[in-house]
Each structure stands twice: as C-alpha cells, then as structure tokens.
C-alpha cells in the first residue's frame, strides 16, 4: 500500500512543482520586488526600500480612485448579478415550456470573452449612438447618459456590462440550487397553509444561502480582478479622470508602460491580499464541510 501511495504522489509531483514555482514562487518573487527600488528599466543600484512603494501607492490619488471604483463596481455588480440571476432562475424553475431555449439565451454571454463583450458595449454605450438612440426613440430621453465617457458614471457603466456577462453564472448556480431542494419540503409547506411568498421566504431562501455565499465569493473576486472589460470599453487610459480605472489596469500600465516594476508589484500584492481575505476562509470552509460529509 505504501508503495502505491508513493507512486501516486509521484504522479502528482509534476503539477505540484509547477504550481509551487509558478504560483507560490512567483508570488514570493513579486513580493520581494515590491520592496525594492526597481522603478525604471535600468536601475544602477538595486536596494531594498522597505514599504516605500506601498506608502506611495496608498498616497497616490489614482490608487485611491481605483479602490473606490472597485468598491462601487462590487456594490453594483454583485447585487445586480445576484438579483438578476435569482430572478431568472426562479422563472426558469417554474416549469415553463421552452425552458432550455431561454436558459441557452440567458447563459450565452458566459461563453464570450470580455473583449467581445467590451466591443459590443463600447458601442452600445457610445454617447451619440447605441442605448442613447434607443432611449430617445422610446421616449425615455431622461435615461440618456455619457456612460463611460462621463467621469460621474465611469465604472458604473462597466458594471452594467459585467452584469450582462456574468449574471448567467449566478443564474446557473441558483438553478442548480433550486433543483436540489426536495419537493417534499414545498408540499409540507403547502399542507401547513403557507402562501407562495412564505414558502419562498422560509423554504427556498434559507436553502439557497450556501449558493449565495459561493456566488458572492466568486463574483467578489472577479470584481477585484476585473481588467479585460475595462480595457475593452474605456481603453487603456481608464477613462476620463480614471473614472473607470481599476487596480489591475493601474498595475498593467505602471508595470508595462511606465516601467515602474516595483510599484506595479506593490499593486499586485495589494490585490492578492484583498483576494486572499475573500477566498481563503471560503476555501477552508468548503473543504472542511466536504470532509465532514
């Protein structure tokens, strides 16, 4: 048996080594870089500067805007995707005819790349075209907006496109969650004289809580990492006054355009820490629960 286990471990080894180097080694390397002065293509004397890059970062107006944008994005994108996803899943779960047809349409954006989505929404949210034209034609002129070209809207416009693309994900999660609820529970509720609303409130909703938690974690970590969609809609400059800018884009530009490598590394470490706060407890909880089962 032990010999078998050793062979099994050896099979795992190549992947373990790759992940150890490419994930953990590289993270360590990035962390180390973020503590140095390598902020140009050519630095005559590389030395450690402590937390200087982080201090500069948090004092930087652009990074402050980025953090605020990330928060605003999450506050629109996560509830938006949850509500739309739950709504769609409840509709699909009523047992309507053509369920498969509608489901295929609702989840379709999930198969597209952010760049494709970005091309479509960039033109839909062009101030002189797209949605604004539609609103005019429908007599809804008050809904018109400068979208991503208006500094007061910026990231909110990006969040709208993100909801379009990813609400299908929460819909799929909720649909699976709803299907897993035993019919008997509803029958029992009906026997007890519960209204449909009460059945939803006291049966469906609590049983969907773990699904909601999963969705919040996954959507939350997408909010922190969002990059492609911003580039495709607002462009590499992050929109006027950085109104659509996000930390991932700031990192990209800082590192690969301005050559401030240590500063870019500091941004990515901040991102990593934020993601870790979200993901580590969740992973731990998921795996523990699995073991308990």
């Amino acid at each position: 048996m032990r010999r078998y286990r050793r062979t099994a471990f050896l099979l795992l080894l190549p992947s373990l080594v790759l992940v150890a180097v490419f994930v953990y080694g590289f993270i360590f390397w990035t962390g180390e870089l973020s503590l140095t002065n390598q902020n140009d293509l050519f630095v005559p004397q590389v030395r450690f500067v402590g937390l200087e890059n982080y201090q500069r970062l948090f004092a930087h107006p652009r990074f402050q805007i980025d953090l605020r944008n990330t928060l605003v994005f999450s506050l629109i994108f996560i509830p938006g995707s949850l509500i739309l996803g739950l709504f769609g899943a409840l509709l699909l779960n009523t047992g309507v005819r053509g369920e498969g047809f509608f489901r295929t349409i609702f989840l379709m954006p999930m198969a597209l790349s952010f760049i494709v989505t970005g091309v479509a929404w960039r033109w839909l949210m062009n101030p002189t075209s797209g949605l604004n034209l539609l609103f005019d034609a429908l007599g809804l002129g008050f809904l018109k907006s400068g979208w991503y070209t208006d500094p007061a809207v910026g990231i909110k416009a990006i969040a709208l496109a993100a909801i379009w693309q990813l609400s299908g994900y929460t819909m799929a999660l909720y649909l699976a969650g709803l299907r897993a609820i035993p019919r008997e529970l509803y029958e029992a509720a009906e026997v007890d004289g519960a209204t449909p609303w009460q059945a939803f409130r006291y049966v469906t909703f609590p049983l969907l809580t773990p699904v909601t938690l999963s969705a919040v974690i996954v959507l939350g970590h997408i909010s922190l990492k969002i990059f492609d969609l911003v580039v495709a809609i607002a462009g590499i400059s992050g929109g006027p006054a950085f109104s659509s800018d996000v930390p991932a884009l700031f990192m990209f530009v800082t590192t690969f355009q301005a050559n401030r490598f240590a500063q870019g590394a500091a941004i990515s470490i901040v991102l990593l820490v934020l993601v870790s706060f979200l993901v580590i407890p969740y992973l731990y909880w998921s795996l523990r629960q699995e073991v308990a089962e």
Partner: protein, 415 residues
C-alpha cells in the same frame, strides 16, 4: 535572331534566379512604426518604394502597429527589445523617449559613422543635432519635424465675429468669451487619449514660463513648485471652461472635426491637424502660433535608430541613409504633413502651412515637446499624463502641482 531571343530568355531566367537567390539569402528589412493610416502610411510606403528601387531584392516587412497614438506600438516594441528580438529599425520620438529608454540602457548602436559619411552634421540644424546626441554620439536619424504649438482656427467663424488669432492668453480669453456668448465652442479638445490634454498644457507652460523657463523644467532649473507652474495650471484650468463638453469621448481628429463642421472656433494642436484638414478636403482654416508661443518652435521628430541586435544590419543602415537623405525627406514629408529635419529641402514641394513652418524653423527658439517624448523620459511623461487625467476633471491646482513636483523627483531630476 532566334539565337538572340534564346540568349535573352536565358538572361531573364538568370536574372530571376539571382533575384530569387537574393530573397533566399534573407535580404530582408523589418521596419517598425505606428504609421498605419492616412498621410503617415502613404509617406512610409513612399519610402519603401524608394528603398526597393535602390535595393531590389530586399524584402521589406512592415511591422506597423496601429492604435493609441503610438502607445500600443511602444508597448510592443518594449517587449520585443527586452525579449532580444528587435526589428531592424524602429520609429521613435527624438529626445528622451529614445535616449532614456533605449540608449542609456545599452540597446542601440551609435551612428556617428553614418552621420559623417553622409555629411549630416552640415544639413541638420544645431538644435536638432543636440537633441540627437547623448554621451557625444548620435543615436538616431530624424525623418521629419512636427510643430506642436499651433493654433488652428475656422476662418469663417473668425470673420463672422471679427476676431484675429489671439497672441496672448488675455487675447485668447477675450475671444473665447465672445465666442461662448455667441454659442460657438471656443476651443476644441479631444482627449480620450489623455496626451491631448498634456499637449495643450505644454503650450500653456511654454506661454507662461517662456522657452528658457520651460526648458528648465526638464533639467531642474525651473521649480515645479514655483509660481510659474501654478499660474500655468490656473490658466489651463480656465481654458478648460471653454472646451467642448464631450472632449473625453473624442479623439484628436474628432476634435478637429469640430473645426471642420464649424462647431468650434479654435484648436491648439500639432500640425498633423493640417494633414487631417487636407485629407478631409477642408480649406477654410487658418493658423498662428498658440497663444503666448510666438517665437517658439515646440518641436517633435520621428526618428529611426539601429538596435544592437538588428537581424539585418546592412539593410537597416541602407534604410537609415535613405531616411536622412534629401531625396527621402522630400518624398516623405509632403505626404506625412511635416517639414524636413534637413534645412536644404525644396519649399516648393510643400503646402502653404508647411512653408510657413519651414520659415519659423529657421528663426524660432526650438524647445522639445513634452507630450511627444522629446522633453522627458517615458515614466516621467506617464506621471504627468496621470496628473492631467485627474486635473482636467478636478481642476485641483494644489493637488496637480504637488503631483507634478513629485513626478520630477521620481524622475531623478529634482531633489
């Protein structure tokens, strides 16, 4: 007769064979640029044509990268150079964009021999030779000169409201107020690429500090925390009150469209706007130096250099010799809409604006453009662009001045 025809046939066959061999031996030339559209692309193709006449059998690979006013191309170039895979020659702005990014870091070959062999020290003006030099050597060949500080205006609008091109900022604001009251957009701006705002700000800096004060910004001689920069920021903020509200959604050429359509009266921009007017068949425009910029030539230049690891070195040298030659410059520049970096080009080949610019080129004080890579290295320019991106919306003078001062410190120029 028959025999001769046969001999001809063989000769032709041999010719083909030789040409084929030339190709097979890797007679190639890869030229990297961001000239993909309009007059720029036409000028580039003209140079390729001339090159092929002189060196038939060399296959030219056009590695142009579109988009982002060159920012995409620069990113591509950086990764290629760092990855040890440079093109044979590449477009790069004269000044710090070339020097700090590629020369100081040891990626380029000095071109002193080529300069001497072709007698270029006699034909390029001193001001340009100085900007090309670093550490006593020449590092790139200028193909052209653009002027950044030009005020373009719609003649019909100026006539209608009895205006003349404003010489000072006071004149400018007086005219702008008049236009605004009449419902005309006084100043066009298209800064969806933030460099357009930086570009406008640079002309305000020149107009406020004067050429020497402006040049001092890049050497540490002029204080970024001083009253001059502050005043420039305040003037710039005031100007922004007169621009089209949708400036953030427009590109520089879409801002130019406002002049063409008669919706805006003035546009402070580089002279590629002139080429755009001509391409769009619009003739009702006039030009003058930007307000406060009389007697100053805010210059930028596209140059070509020779990377150390260029795979086809000889072909690249031929290319550089063509780019710097009278023939090359006279072919390229009328199409590109710029003037020759050489002083011996024939003015008759150029349109009226360019003839005007050629005259100024001889007499004006030359200063390097900030927004187009001549004045400051890339990371410094990036920090200034960041500042502008915030300032255009916030108009927060204190914050902007503090950021500009910090950027100078980060660049290692200020203490």
């Amino acid at each position: 007769m028959k025999k001769r025809a046969k001999a001809w046939g063989i000769g032709a066959l041999l010719g083909l064979l030789i040409a084929g061999l030339g190709l097979a031996q890797g007679g190639k030339l890869e030229i990297f640029s961001w000239w993909t559209t309009g007059g720029e692309a036409a000028g580039l193709f003209k140079l390729f044509e001339l090159y092929k006449q002189k060196h038939p059998g060399v296959e030219i690979i056009n590695a142009a990268v579109a988009g982002g006013a060159g920012s995409n191309a620069k990113a591509v170039l950086k990764t290629r150079m760092l990855g040890g895979d440079p093109p044979d020659s590449f477009q790069v702005h004269m000044g710090h964009e070339l020097i700090d990014t590629w020369v100081v870091t040891g990626f380029m070959e000095p071109l002193d021999e080529i300069f001497q062999k072709n007698g270029w020290e006699e034909v390029f003006p001193k001001g340009v030779l100085e900007l090309l030099k670093w550490n006593g050597h020449y590092w790139s060949v200028p193909a052209n000169i653009h002027r950044a500080n030009v005020l373009w205006y719609n003649q019909a609008i100026f006539e209608k409201y009895g205006l003349t091109p404003p010489k000072t900022f006071d004149d400018f604001f007086a005219a702008a107020e008049k236009l605004k009251a009449a419902g005309v957009i006084p100043l066009a701006l298209g800064d969806n690429g933030i460099w357009a705002s930086t570009h406008l700000f640079e002309t305000v800096l020149i107009g406020t500090l004067g050429p020497e004060g402006y040049k001092g910004l890049w050497t540490g001689a002029t204080d970024w925390k001083g009253p001059g920069v502050r005043q420039a920021l305040e003037t710039f903020a005031r100007m922004l009150d007169y621009v089209n509200p949708d400036h953030a959604a427009r590109s520089w050429d879409q801002a130019n469209d406002l002049i063409i359509q008669g919706k805006a009266a003035m546009y402070i921009h580089g002279d590629w706007a002139n080429a755009d007017f001509m391409a769009k068949k619009f003739e009702g425009y006039g030009w003058a130096p930007a307000p406060g910029n009389y007697g100053v030539y805010d210059a930028l230049s596209d140059t070509f250099g020779l990377p150390k690891k260029a795979p086809h070195r000889q072909e690249a040298i031929w290319w550089l010799e063509l780019v710097g030659s009278k023939e090359g410059q006279e072919a390229f520049n009328p199409l590109k809409g710029s003037i020759c970096a050489r002083t011996d080009c024939d003015p008759k080949l150029f349109n009226p604006y360019l003839q005007w610019a050629m005259e100024r080129w001889k007499t004006d004080t030359i200063v390097p453009s900030l927004a187009h890579g001549a004045a400051a290295k890339e990371s410094w320019l990036a920090a200034i662009n960041d500042t502008m991106s915030l300032f255009v919306t916030s108009r927060n003078v204190d914050q902007a001045q503090a950021m500009l001062a910090q950027a100078c410190v980060d660049a290692g120029v200020c203490k």
